[in-house]
């Protein structure tokens, strides 16, 4: 038995108002993939930050190669070969990809930064993560999924012996996630120890050698290779079985509530996309990262005004240059990137939940504080948001609970059309099911829902109908009965609609 690479014993960590870790222990051997799973707020990210020197534990011990250590900085952890890929992206957005990969460790020549070496080395690591972009591309020109891959390339470049990945696949498409899993396999065979956090249990099943489950800041149990299965993981995580995961019942759709006609987004101005969502209908949009799904939703919502086309809500044209007008017409958008577009991190849970409805609830311009308070209470309990108080700044909530705050903010607006961009990103399995229930309930009340997801399973489970996008345009439409991983992937990768046996040739509104 080889000595553990990394060992943590009885770690304790408290934050203002919260006790995040209550004596957690874990160990990691070389050439092992350890999956750490648990509900939102269980303490996974906190544990990882301590292992990687981002935060220090209040008490407990940390051993590397059997010797006790206490990392006081990320640099110290790195020098012992421990690298962390954060749950939230930590990149310098204005620098280019190569500079990001080597930030703080720039190769030098005669004392100056060796740009040539950066470029060639960066390209090597980008290849490993399957990203074929030029290292001189500015980071903020990349969609969030690709930024995530750059973050992974950056972690590879330090040649870590222990690589910790905190929800690396949450913003990747199924295809990209697959190649990441392959990469992990390669790293494992090279002897690297990997800690892998994910709410996607299928991935965990596929890749993990061992599973460590956390619940409320404590070890809730572990599963060895042979025991790892979906049901066991779920019951250890939430302490109960989950029945019927996708609750959605297709209803007879009502009248068309959202009608998008020949919309052209600024990113893909050549393509005209049309779609219709009926009252009570859940329509999924599938596609690879970068297929233009987010752009489509943002164009409808008016934050990235379209360059052409019209959008009708209940038959009335929307002013797609003004998010205010769009919101007033009863449309809400839960954006993909919660840190930048969804939340004001320093503001409290209450202030974030009410932000989009202040104008509606105002009294002659004055805040309606009682309403704000009651709305916040309603949403925290409806969404089961774990927070010590309504006044807690959202930056101190766990990733999944932050996501629930964004959804709560828009539910508070009681929309007629709900646009969701990767709504369950980073959300634990119990909460996911809550969100699916919520979507189903809203649909049954006549709300039209259009949701983008990179999880095929979610599209198949929840959508009455799915549109598949490829390089900026809707390639085709699949009815609920026709939904399968193959049929979606075929369209998503640009395959011809007529090749899939069960795929209908799309009719005229979906311009091909």
């Amino acid at each position: 038995m080889s000595l553990p690479l990394l060992e943590a014993n009885r770690l304790e960590k408290s934050f203002a108002g919260v006790r995040a870790l209550r004596g957690v222990s874990m160990s990691l051997k070389p050439a092992e993939v350890l999956a750490v799973i648990g509900e939102n707020g269980a303490g996974k990210s906190t544990l990882m930050k301590i292992l990687a020197g981002v935060q220090s534990a209040d008490s407990g011990e940390l051993k590397v190669d059997g010797a006790a250590r206490a990392f006081r900085s990320v640099g110290e952890a790195l020098s012992h070969g421990v690298a962390l890929i954060h749950q939230e992206l930590n990149l310098a957005e204005t620098l280019d990809v190569g500079a990001n990969i080597f930030l703080g460790r720039e190769p030098r020549r005669f004392g100056l930064i060796d740009e040539r070496k950066i470029r060639s080395e960066a390209r090597r690591y980008l290849d490993q993560v399957g990203l074929s972009i030029d290292p001189t591309t500015p980071l903020n020109a990349l969609p969030i999924g690709q930024q995530q891959l750059v973050e992974i390339a950056k972690a590879l470049s330090v040649n870590a012996r222990v690589l910790i990945m905190d929800e690396p696949t949450s913003s990747l498409s199924g295809h990209e996630a697959q190649s990441l899993l392959k990469l992990i396999d390669t790293l494992r065979s090279r002897g690297v120890g990997i800690v892998y956090i994910s709410h996607r249990l299928a991935e965990v099943e596929a890749i993990a050698d061992r599973v460590e489950v956390l619940r409320d800041g404590e070890n809730a149990g572990a599963l060895q290779k042979g025991e790892i299965c979906h049901a066991k993981m779920v019951s250890l995580m939430v302490g109960r079985e989950l029945s019927q995961f996708y609750p959605h019942q297709t209803l007879a759709p009502g009248a068309a509530i959202l009608d998008v006609q020949e919309l052209r987004t600024a990113t893909h101005p050549k393509h005209r996309n049309s779609l219709t969502v009926h009252a009570g209908e859940i329509v999924g949009i599938a596609g690879l990262v970068g297929a233009g799904r987010t752009e489509l939703l943002e164009a409808i919502f008016g934050v990235n005004p379209p360059v052409g086309g019209t959008v009708l809500v209940q038959g009335f044209p929307l002013n797609t240059r003004s998010p205010q007008a769009v919101i007033k017409a009863g449309v809400a958008l839960v954006p993909e990137d919660r840190k930048h577009s969804g939340l004001v991190l320093e503001m409290s849970v209450r202030e974030n939940i009410s932000l989009a409805t202040l104008a509606r609830d105002q009294r002659l311009g004055f805040l309606n504080r009682e309403r704000e308070q009651s709305l916040c209470q309603e949403m925290t309990s409806a969404m089961n948001i774990k927070t010590p108080s309504a006044d807690q700044p959202v930056q101190f909530l766990s990733g999944g609970n932050q996501q629930k705050v964004v959804i709560g903010k828009w539910l508070a607006a009681a929309p007629r059309v709900l646009l969701l961009d990767e709504p369950t990103r980073g959300i634990d399995i119990g909460a996911k099911q809550e969100i699916y229930r919520l979507m189903d309930e809203l649909a049954s009340r006549g709300v039209g829902i259009l949701f983008v997801s990179s999880e095929l399973e979610e599209i198949i489970g929840m959508a009455d109908r799915a549109l598949v996008m490829h390089e900026g345009r809707i390639r085709g439409e699949l009815k609920r009965a026709e939904l399968s991983e193959e049929s979606i992937m075929n369209l998503a990768t640009g395959g011809d609609a007529s090749h899939g046996s069960s795929i209908v040739q799309t009719a005229s509104p979906f311009s091909l």
Partner: protein, 331 residues
Amino acid sequence: MKKILGILALLIVVCILTACLSSSFLSAYNIENVLRRSALFGILSIGVAFVIITGGIDLSLGSVVCLVGCALPWLLTVQHWPLSLAIPTVAALSIGIGLAHGLLVTKLRIQPFIVTLCGLLLYRGIARGFTRDQTVGFGNEFKPLRTLATGKIPFLPGFDIPAPLIFLVVVAIVAAIFLNRTIYGRYLLALGRNPQAATYSGIRTERMTILAYVISSGLAGLGGALFVLDVNSAQPVDFGNFYELYAIAAAVLGGCSLRGGEGAIVGVLIGAALMQVLRNTITLVTEKNNVEFAIIGAVILVGVIADELTRRIAYRRRTAQALRQTITSEA
């Protein structure tokens, strides 16, 4: 609230020290004087606080003070305009300046520092131009108008309240209500932190930002008018010189973060008072003010450091408390 307590303590300490070092500090005359100066600077500081809350900066307000401070007596005594025309003109001028700043910052996306730095040079230049660098003043005229700034309201025997304080109180109350009780104040705080999230929540961030610049320049205009009414004449070369720095320092001492999204009116008022008390202390105690800037600079630095330290200690205390609470609740 914590932030305000720290700076309030600093103000009290400085007052007590000065009172010990100089007997004239607590004289009714001196107190009235310090109050008058604090009130005038308080109005400017509240204005710039709004811009700072949006994450911007307004370097031009000293020059706006100069422009309005010169234009008002110039229009009245040199051009012989009627009061009913001169007052709206200077008001429109200062609001127009704010509007221009706001539009440049939001629509053309020029950085606030640059826009208002150019304003700083421009408006003083204009004032020096139309006055031909000559001092302009009211002389012996416009006595009733000047009481707006020089007037006193009897309060205690031997102690009167200076009139500008009334202006300040009104401005401060309106500003505090606006910032804390209206949706627009909340919008400003939100967009100062994260303009993108504010846009995605349906907030018209550009309009709100423009409004902040209008408030800043508008209050600078009001301040400029009161300043010149108070001292009777204005020299375009140095009238209002460095006032933007006093105002920004007051706002920052009072808890506004230059990163945006943070600030409280009460804090800004205390910050403005602290700046004026310090200047007063220096004059009274050293009888010369060539070290004024050095001392003020040092005090601001101490204030900001103390603030950061108290925040860290408070955070640590809250953490320890949370730990104790969970342990006892589980036991």
